[in-house]
C-alpha cells in the first residue's frame, strides 16, 4: 500500500512545521502545532518499528523465563513463568502485542522481586540485560 504510512506522517509533519505553524497568529497555537508535528514524526517511526520492538521484547522475556524458571523454588511463580514462556503471539497487531507484553511485564516484575530476595547477582544482571535492551529499543529519537 503506497504511500507508506511513515511517508505520509513525515510529510504531514514537515508541512505542519514548515508551512502551517508559521502562518498561525497565536503563539500558543504555533507552539502546539510544532509539538504536534514532532508527534507525527514520532508516530511515523513508531509505525515502522512498533510491532518489531514489542515482538522482540516479548521474545526476550520468554527466553529469560525459560532460562531462569528452573531455579525458582516458589511453585506458583515458577508455574507463571513457565506459562508465560510457553505462550506465543496470536497476532502481530500492536494492540495484541501490547496485551501479551503487559502480561509478560507483570510476570517479570514479580520474578525480579523474587530474584532480588532469593537469586544470585548473575540472575539479577541477566534480568537487567533484558530491561536495558527494552529501554534502548524504546528510546524515541528526535533526529
Amino acid at each position: 500500500m503506497k504511500p507508506d504510512a511513515q511517508d505520509i506522517l513525515n510529510k504531514s509533519a514537515d508541512q505542519l512545521m514548515g508551512q502551517l505553524a508559521p502562518a498561525l497568529n497565536a503563539q500558543y497555537s504555533q507552539g502546539a502545532a510544532a509539538v504536534m508535528a514532532l508527534l507525527l514524526k514520532f508516530a511515523g517511526k513508531e509505525y515502522e518499528r512498533g510491532a518489531d520492538i514489542r515482538a522482540a521484547e516479548n521474545a526476550d522475556m520468554r527466553a529469560l523465563f525459560v532460562e531462569l524458571a528452573p531455579r525458582v523454588s516458589d511453585a506458583a511463580l515458577r508455574k507463571s513463568l513457565e506459562d508465560a514462556a510457553a505462550a506465543r503471539e496470536t497476532s502481530f497487531a500492536i494492540s495484541a502485542l501490547n496485551v501479551a507484553n503487559h502480561d509478560l511485564r507483570r510476570v517479570l516484575i514479580a520474578f525480579q522481586i523474587w530474584i532480588e530476595d532469593n537469586g544470585s547477582r548473575e540472575d539479577q544482571r541477566r534480568i537487567w540485560s533484558v530491561l536495558k535492551a527494552s529501554a534502548d529499543r524504546r528510546i524515541v529519537s528526535l533526529f
Binding site: L39, L108, R125, A135
Partner: protein, 337 residues
C-alpha cells in the same frame, strides 16, 4: 481569544485593584506547560498600562497541587529578591473565570531555552549556569519559616524527606500507569532499600527547577524562575538532583542544564547554599529524580489518554520523556546489579 474571558478578567481586576476604569487588551494564550493555561494580556487604567500574565487551572490539572502554592512561592521569593515574577492577585474560587487562577507581572524581553535545543544558551552558557545554580543554592539556603512557607506540603523532619517523596510519586504511578512499568518499579524498590542520609535541613524545594523553566535575556541574565507549582518542603538535594538530570542537559549530561561542567555546577550550588552535596546522597537523589520524571510522564500520558488534558505536550511526555528516563534508570540500576 474569548471576549468573555477578557471581559471577566477586566471585571475581576477592576474590583480587585479598585480601578473601575480598568480594561483588558490583547489577551492571548501562550505556551506555559500543560499543567496551567497561560495567557499574556495588557491591563490599562488611569492612563497607565501593565503587561501581565494569567495562569489558570486547566479543566484537569496534570499533577494535582495546592493551588495557592505557586503564588505563595512567588510572593515569598520575590520579597527575598530572587528573580521571580511579581505576583499580583490570586483567586481560588471559580466564579470569576470558571476555574482558579493567579495573575503576575510579565517578564519582558526574555526567553526560555527549549529542552530539545542542543545549545540554547550559546556564548552565555557559563554566565547563565553560574546564576542558575547560584539561585538554586539560595533557594536551598533560605529558611522556610522566615519565608512564611513552613506550612507547605512535604516532609516534617530531615529523615522523612526521601520516604515522603518516594511515597508521593509511587502513588502517582499506582494510580496512572497505563501499562506495567518494570524499570520504575525496580527503581522504587532500590530507592527504598538504599535510603540516603537525612537531609541537612528542611528547605523549600522548587520541585521542577531545570533548564526550560526560567527566563533569560539577551545579556545572559536570568530574569525569572518559573513554574513553582510543585514546590514543597524537603531535602535540598532533591532540587539539585532534578536540575542536573540528563533529560535537562541538552544532550550533554557532563554539562547539567546545558551550562557548567558538573563539578563546577555543584560547587556553585554549595557556595550559594552553604550546604554540602555529599556524592552518595546526591547519587540517590539523582536516581530519585529520574523515577520522579517517570511518574510525571506516566501521569501526563494518562491525562492525554483519558482525555482529561489533550495538550500535545502530554503525549510528547508520555513517549519521549518516559522512554528517556526509563533508559537512564535502566543504565544506572543495571550498572549497580
Amino acid at each position: 481569544m474569548s471576549d468573555a474571558l477578557s471581559e471577566n478578567l477586566a471585571k475581576y481586576l477592576a474590583a480587585k485593584l479598585n480601578a473601575p476604569d480598568l480594561t483588558v487588551h490583547d489577551l492571548a494564550r501562550i505556551p506555559g506547560g500543560a499543567s496551567r493555561e497561560t495567557y499574556r494580556f495588557r491591563a490599562r487604567h488611569g492612563g497607565t498600562e501593565r503587561k501581565l500574565i494569567l495562569r489558570r487551572d486547566p479543566p484537569a490539572s496534570l499533577i494535582e497541587t495546592e493551588r495557592s502554592t505557586e503564588y505563595r512561592a512567588y510572593q515569598a521569593f520575590h520579597k527575598l529578591g530572587l528573580p521571580v515574577p511579581e505576583p499580583i492577585a490570586l483567586e481560588l474560587g471559580s466564579d470569576a473565570l470558571e476555574r482558579p487562577f493567579f495573575i503576575m507581572a510579565e517578564i519582558e524581553n526574555a526567553m526560555v531555552g527549549s529542552i530539545l535545543a542542543p545549545d540554547p544558551y550559546g556564548a552565555h552558557r557559563d554566565r547563565i549556569g553560574q546564576q542558575f545554580f547560584s539561585i538554586l543554592g539560595r533557594i536551598a539556603g533560605a529558611d522556610p519559616k522566615a519565608l512564611g512557607l513552613s506550612d507547605f506540603e512535604g516532609a516534617s523532619a530531615p529523615d522523612r524527606c526521601w520516604r515522603h517523596e518516594v511515597a508521593r510519586w509511587e502513588k502517582v504511578i499506582d494510580e496512572d500507569e497505563g501499562e506495567p512499568q518494570p524499570i520504575a518499579r525496580a527503581a522504587i524498590r532500590w530507592l527504598k532499600r538504599n535510603p540516603p542520609p537525612p537531609a541537612q535541613k528542611i528547605c523549600v524545594v522548587h520541585g521542577d527547577y531545570r533548564s526550560g523553566n526560567f527566563l533569560y535575556d539577551a545579556n545572559g541574565d536570568i530574569r525569572a524562575i518559573l513554574d513553582w507549582e510543585m514546590a514543597h518542603l524537603g531535602d535540598p538535594l532533591e532540587d539539585l538532583g532534578w536540575a542536573i538530570d540528563p533529560l535537562w542537559a541538552h544532550h550533554d549530561p557532563s554539562h547539567p542544564a546545558g551550562t557548567l561542567a558538573r563539578a563546577d555546577a555543584i560547587q556553585v550550588w554549595e557556595d550559594a547554599s552553604g550546604l554540602k552535596a555529599d556524592p552518595g546522597a546526591l547519587a540517590w537523589w539523582e536516581m530519585f529524580a529520574s523515577l520522579k520524571g517517570c511518574a510525571i510522564w506516566i501521569s501526563a500520558a494518562h491525562e492525554y489518554a483519558t482525555g482529561r488534558n489533550d495538550d500535545p505536550v502530554n503525549a510528547f511526555s508520555g513517549w519521549y520523556c518516559l522512554a528517556y528516563h526509563n533508559k537512564v534508570l535502566a543504565d544506572r540500576l543495571g550498572a549497580l546489579a
